[in-house]
Amino acid sequence: MPEQSTLQYTAEHEWVLIENDVATIGITAYAAEKLGDVVFVDLPNNGASVTTGTVIGEIESTKSVGELFAPVNGEVTEVNDAVVDSPELVNSDPFGAGWLVKIRFIELPELMTFAEYSVLVGE
């Protein structure tokens, strides 16, 4: 599991791990906690091309639904099938086994640092 302090963040409560030209994306523990028990995850198809800021998936809990936004432009290279089969991973391990998609990005927009995100969620 990556250190939270080494990740970048979005205002939509997603975390982004940059490794070379691939971004791994998940939702933060704060978002998972707010959503409650996640029961269903809808992710884009492998190979789909995505645009920054658009909705590429949904995360459903028993009481609400959260949208997954693409934090970067690019092509989906991998989706986490384990989380589709076991959506509870989003709650139990949001920064690890609960990751959602990997995107080979074309350009990297400016994202939030851990410190900035911590201010956003008031921690």
């Binding site: 996640v38 269903f40 459903e60 809990s61 028993t62 009481k63 609400s64 639904v65």
Partner: protein
Amino acid sequence: MAGHVLAAKTTHDLSAFASRHIGTDADAQETMLGAIGYDSVDALVRAAVPASIHVDGFRSAADSVLPPAATEREAIAELRLLANRNTVNRSMIGLGYYDTITPAVIKRNVLENPSWYTAYTPYQPEISQGRLEALINFQTMIADLTGMTTANASMLDEGTAVVEGMLLARRSSKADSSVFIVDADTLPQTKALLKNRAEVVGIELVELPLAKNPVELPAAFGIFVQYPGASGRLWDPTAIIALAKSQGALTIVAADLLALTLVAAPGELGADVAVGTSQRFGVPMGLGGPHAGYMAVRAGLERQLPGRLVGVSQDAAGHPAYRLSLQVREQHIRRDKATSNICTAQVLLAVMASMYAVYHGPQGLTQIATTITRLTRVLARAATEAGHTVASGNYFDTLTLRTKTDAVSLVQRAHNAGYLFHLVDATHVQLSVDETTTLADTRIVAELLGEELADDTVPREIDAWIPSTMQRTTEFLTHPVFNTHRSETSMMRYLKHLADLDYALDRGMIPLGSCTMKLNAATEMEAVTWPEFGGLHPFAPAADIAGYLALIDQLQGWLADLTGYDSVSLQPNAGSQGELAGLLAIRGYHRGRGDDHRTVCLIPSSAHGTNAASAVLAGMRVVVVACDELGNVDLDDLRAKIAEHAENISALMITYPSTHGVYEHEVGTICKAVHDAGGQVYVDGANLNALLGFARFGDFGGDVSHLNLHKTFCIPHGGGGPGVGPVAAKAHLAPYLPGHPMAQHDFHAGAPVSAAPYGSPSILPISWAYVRMMGSDGLRDATAAAVLAANYVAVRLRDHYPILYSGDNGLIAHECVLDLRPLTAATGVTVDDVAKRLIDYGFHAPTMSFPVAGTLMVEPTESEDLAEIDRFIEAMIAIRLEADAVAQSLGDDNPLRNAPHTAQSVIEGEWTHPYTREQAVYPVRGIIRGKYWPAVRRIDQAYGDRNLVCSCPPPEAFE
């Protein structure tokens, strides 16, 4: 009339119905007023309702068109006179509505039983296991008969189910087309609904005679097949469904449930979605409703289902338990992105239909269907011998005849003889056989057709008119529940067993905010089961329904008068449909003026999610207006949004009093701002129970509203339907209110939103009786008593739970929002914990987390007496003390977190909790004698959504 002279005029005279409907008498009200600090109920309401909207400022009380209050006896006598003006002829009209025999054990123990009809939608599953089981029986019955994987817990009617099927197909199909293909042999009312609804959301309808099995289809996202056809024709759509599938289109099949006992199921034919009605499973026609429509889908489409879906989960002890599944599909969560705007279903009628199948079982249903089709064969033979031509060689229960002589006079002769034929055109009539048709009937019908029934032997083999290739070969209703209750004793006990699991108004208060769970009086319910109201086909001749038309006309007039509007259509079958009808009226009005660009619908962030979902289906774009910290519409944001969308403003939807239970002071200013921008004001009537008699939507700026007769006007909730959501409008919108191409009387000229012309007429006598027995004064007193009760609860509870919102003079309307967030922060006790703990105290929880997460909204209504209100208040205070104890010493193993407690949970095994068994189940001494025991412990919501099971589990699961 002597009765009127003797009739009581005050709410405290027990011969006045109002004194039976309103729970608090003068002494109680004085006590409550003392607690709040007002001298009179009138002074209290005047202080709460802004003076600028008081009805007195707009008209004198003498202008009311309501007759003076009748006593219960007088009202029944008047209803009897109206009923006598209806004529129940033998309907052979068909077209989706068939006479049926309601088993008396179901009529008495379900339809006439408050344990079933006064329950609410099963949002608190721990105290709703009975009707949830009945609904999962319904889903299993539908899934089995249609051969699909998953069925929902009912739709409003067949016509709207087809529309929802069309919308589902568009969401799910990958075909790049906006075309929906409709079989030419489709029910006329369904065609009318599709036409109205498709155009609004940009769907193009293409009608084709699919029974001719075309080898090519235009590009489309979906096709619709009526099975058997509206004309009665039975044909095999397998090839056409395969062709559609190869083009990426989904197929929706509307199937007759009784026919499906004999013919191949839609699922076996390759359909993606099956829809229809369960009316002929023991639910009276009632001039068109209410009855339960259905929808079922193949595997993979479950998440696209609109409406309620019951599933199996498990409780805290690991036992199977039922609850509503996948609720995030629904409009209260997803708002403008929901699968549909529908929320109310037809639970009571779905329960009746499912019990009809439970009682008859697969053999009984097959026998009923076989008798029907054999009698149809007898009629076909007689018609042919009389020189008519039967249009289709294969059929189930319906024949279209090309008549030898003039069809019009044939239909007239039949009517004179007490039989209703459907006149197709000058040379065609249509006849349907149903469960009530006898051999004696066929003899008379044969004579009408011009032929003595020489051969009245009923053919045994059905192969001659239902080809063996089309016959059903698969089993259905194999679950034990459909194969156990054959004797009436067994059936009666099963219904009693299920009813005993549930908490309805016959047990105690259901203080659900925004739901208005008030008395559904026995006198109001009485006429519902009279055959003169139940036995009429929705397309019966006008002469047969004179009493109904008079009742509808009167009720429409009264509702218009009470709300300050000019015209009312009773057609919408739920609040959501009323909203849609109202928004479509606004759309029609703008377009009529050439303002096609006016498509922006302003909706406050506090609105019911249904508002946004309805706006989308009315072809509008939702723009959210912010609310301030007091819960009121933020006027600055409203002005900014109006400025931003200036010329494109279509409407504002506003609920009054607000969803926060407050009379917004600025409502007049808000309406004026929208009018000044050329927009129309839609006032959501969900909270009318706090306004009736004191202010009228039409006076303070509303152009159109829907009312919920199942809230303010006493139609029982039925465990989640039926509902009636009339739409009321000012004169300029009246031409666009929903009418119907087959209506017997032209009340309205707009396009329909329901399958039947007047929606659900058989339950209209309930609201008619309520208004008739309350009169203007009684209705006003009821509003005042409801506002008094809510303010009393607020004052008594405010030291224990902060009251989140209040309006003028610190007062609230008819409901109060208790803020539990500080308690949760301090003790970890959640809204869920308090709601479930209330069950141990013998109460139904208030509304949870609406309009604000982490709150409870309490609506006591006018019907609860002071003793019951006080018991509820004391329970809430006791729970507050328990929560404090949690923080101080108990920790996570506490009576709130572990609530509700079943009998089993306190008896079996060793008691290891740090609180006593007595505290668990008898937290107050008063409930010892009459304790309500929940059937299950707290239900795991996530487990059920992650492991979706929506049909009856095997009996072993409960061992």
